[in-house]
């Protein structure tokens, strides 16, 4: 079976600094894969290369076996990859549902239409998406006044608008309250299960990572140093060393 997403020897060099070095991994259908690592490990650089925002120095990215290295973010999106941002990026002058409708209009290739009223387009579809993320009751609110957690959920609805096969989430729970984090990741896990979407996400919160991911990859100084399930990662001495200089916090947390 071809992987949904595969990278081979992904490398990024800034000047003389090797930010990402020879990263190769596969993401399978229906998988919730976490990419973790300390600050400066190269997670965001990796992400930006996957999304086409940053040109790769060498290596390749494949989407279902098709090489997508060097494509623009727009082209990659058209191939069925959705993304959410570490710092939310939304249309502040629009209502919640309009934010989602915008993505739907783009998906249906209707950006250059001048005649219809945008507010009447794909309303049901947008509502269904909002319902999925639990935002249907706030559909008509002005998005600029939303609470941060709600904004994140709206962004998730936007990212799901073109029914992507792959969803990339850059620190989806950054800046959220602990309760909201659990809720959002539970939502993501449900979507993965119900819709067969595959998810790659970066995350700092280890509770979130261990509780929700199927598989975990650890990046340190641009290199993948470990890969496995929560248990394997927790007990991996290299990972413990990177994160805590050999501390035992993971083990005690694992008891929950």
């Amino acid at each position: 079976m071809t992987a949904i997403l595969e990278t081979r020897g992904l490398t990024k060099v800034f000047g003389g600094v090797v930010a990402v070095k020879d990263v190769s991994f596969q993401l399978h259908k229906g998988e919730l894969l976490a990419l973790i690592g300390p600050n400066g490990a190269g997670k965001s650089t990796c992400f930006n290369m996957l999304m086409g925002q940053l040109p790769v120095t060498s290596g390749d990215v494949y989407l279902e076996g098709e090489r997508i290295t060097g494509l623009t973010p727009r082209q990659i999106w058209r191939k069925g990859v959705g993304r959410t941002f570490q710092i939310t990026a939304t249309y502040a002058s629009m209502t919640v549902i309009e934010n989602v409708q915008m993505a739907l209009m783009s998906h249906h290739g209707e950006i250059l239409r001048f005649l219809p009223f945008a507010t009447r387009m794909h309303r049901d579809e947008a509502l269904a998406l909002l319902d999925m993320v639990g935002m249907a009751n706030q559909a008509e609110r002005h998005s600029a006044v939303l609470a941060y957690g709600d904004l994140k959920r709206m962004e998730l609805a936007i990212a799901l608008a073109h029914t992507p096969k792959l969803l990339l989430m850059d620190e989806p729970t950054a800046g959220m309250a602990p309760k909201e984090r659990v809720a959002l990741m539970q939502l993501t896990a449900d979507i993965v299960r119900d819709r067969g979407v595959s998810v790659l996400f970066t995350e700092h919160d280890m509770d979130v990572v261990f509780a929700h991911s199927h598989r975990i990859m650890v990046l340190n100084r641009g290199e993948l140093i470990a890969e496995g399930n929560a248990e394997q990662i927790r007990n991996n001495p290299m990972v413990q060393d990177v994160y805590l200089g050999g501390g035992t916090v993971f083990a005690s947390e694992g008891a929950q």
């Binding site: 990026a89 502040a92 002058s93 209009m105 998906h107 950006i111 945008a118 002005h142």
Partner: protein, 619 residues
Amino acid sequence: MEFFVAQILTGLANASSLFLVACGLSLIFGVTRIVNFAHGSLYMLGAYIGYSLMQVLPGMIGFWGAILLAGVIVGVIGVAIEMLVLRPVYRAPELFQLVATFGVILVIQDLALIIWGPEDLLGPRAPGLRGVVRIMGEPIPKYDIALLVITPLVAVALWYLITRTRVGVLVRAATQDREMVGALGVNQAWLFTGVFALGSALAGLGGALQLPKGGADLMMDFNILPPLFVVVVVGGMGSLPGAYLAAIIISVLNVFGVAYMPQSTLVLMFVVMIVVLMIRPYGLFGREEVAGEHGQAGEPERPIKPASDKIRLLVTAGIVILALLPLYGSSFAQVLTTDILIFCLFAASLHFLLGLGGMVSFGHAAYYGGGAYVAALLVTHAGSPMELAFILAPLGAGLAALVIGWVCLRLTGVYFAMLTLAFAQLLWSLVFQWGTVTGGDDGLINIWPAEWLKDTTIYFYFALFFAVGGILVMRHVAHSPFGYALRAARDSERQAEATGINTKQVQLLAFGFAGMMGGLAGALFVFSKGSVFPNELEIARSFDALIVVFLGGVKTLSGGVVGAGVFKAIEDVLTRFEYWRLIMGLLIIFVVILAPDGIVGSLRKAARRVGGLKAGGEE
């Protein structure tokens, strides 16, 4: 060779005051993020004040003392402007301060007229520096030599101030991150005032210093703006060495232009600017602006909605009342209303670009005047029937907008704005200097509408149809998927691009569309007046539209139209007075301070406070 050297020396001397003024503008922009349009006025004040001081202060010491004093006095005037006019509006939406500075321009214009009269003043020669020296056989005025020495000295002093002193550290820090500087306990208000004072003083110095070469006149304020913006942009915003180098390049180029290609001196400057920006988008020494991901500054715009039945009814009623004007209004009222309608269409087209697209164009007159000239040229040179010219004018303007937009959209923020201004000025210079085709300063006349439109009332209906039609079309487009995509690109380019929207394409089309609508306004204008002159392309015309859009309210759909209607009507009343600019300027400043959300925005806020408007309602 001798001639060559002499030309270069003259160019270098001419660069002197341009450099000083540009430095001031650059400093002020760097720290306060205000594009100070009134900078040309401060330069003009420097010249006038210097002139008056030289009349009373005798001798060589008096002359140089007068120049220094002029700088100091203009600096103090700058402080007054900053504290009285700008401080109250720092929190206003991005670029709103432009309008305030434009009000200042009008006030200073009339004050200068009242104090110094309409006559051009011939600058006194510098005592002891009246003659020429011969360098390689070519005569060079001694004063030019003095300027050649003074400028680098001032440049080094400024450089020392900025890079070596504590004040300089604060200024540079504020240029990079205002918030952080504030958080570290620096009193931003006084830092801003200080920088404004310094920048103004430099402008004043520049004005006084060029007295022996250029004198003082009432056109100085606008005349310096194009080269000033070119220098600042070519050099790179906020860069002193950049401003110095660019001032020299532009001045030397200008001297050679006068010698070899007198027909194209004005055009040359803008061509250089465009070439530089194509190669180095942020100027010779400039760095890319770190544009935040905030979309619009300040409070986000409220969602828009298609007009409700009630609103539609109101708008229809308004149009009916307008359409019945010939029944109750004089022929003069019809002409006046035609003017207002045309201006509303022009302003609405800029608002489409600026409000919905977030693209601040400083040169929207290019398409208005451009449309007018396309029509006039077709009629004059091709003998085109009016109907054909009227159709081709908006298309021509739209095409020009597509080409210009394609170049300008490589840049963002203030560089984008400056580049649009440069293109507008380029068109203006082309029209102004290409007299054989465009009539130059004499304009093109006898551009009358077709026989069936000759009657004032019929032309009024013609203008009403196209102006209202154009405005309604733009309004509808705002509600279409395209209009939404345009706002999406403005709100968050990152998200728009990540969800498949080609933001540059959308913005370029919007630019072309707005240009076309501006061209339509221009075509309506030229056939209503029967003539067109280069001033329809000039900076002041672009500013008119900008003021109106800001005063009406950028973040409201009807802002442009309402602002234009109010502004044009007031202007018509005021221009009957001798010093109408003074009143108009004060009025603008007044509105800016009292209603920073614009007329429509502030009315809506007031209404919401009263409770008369449901949350989320659009006008």
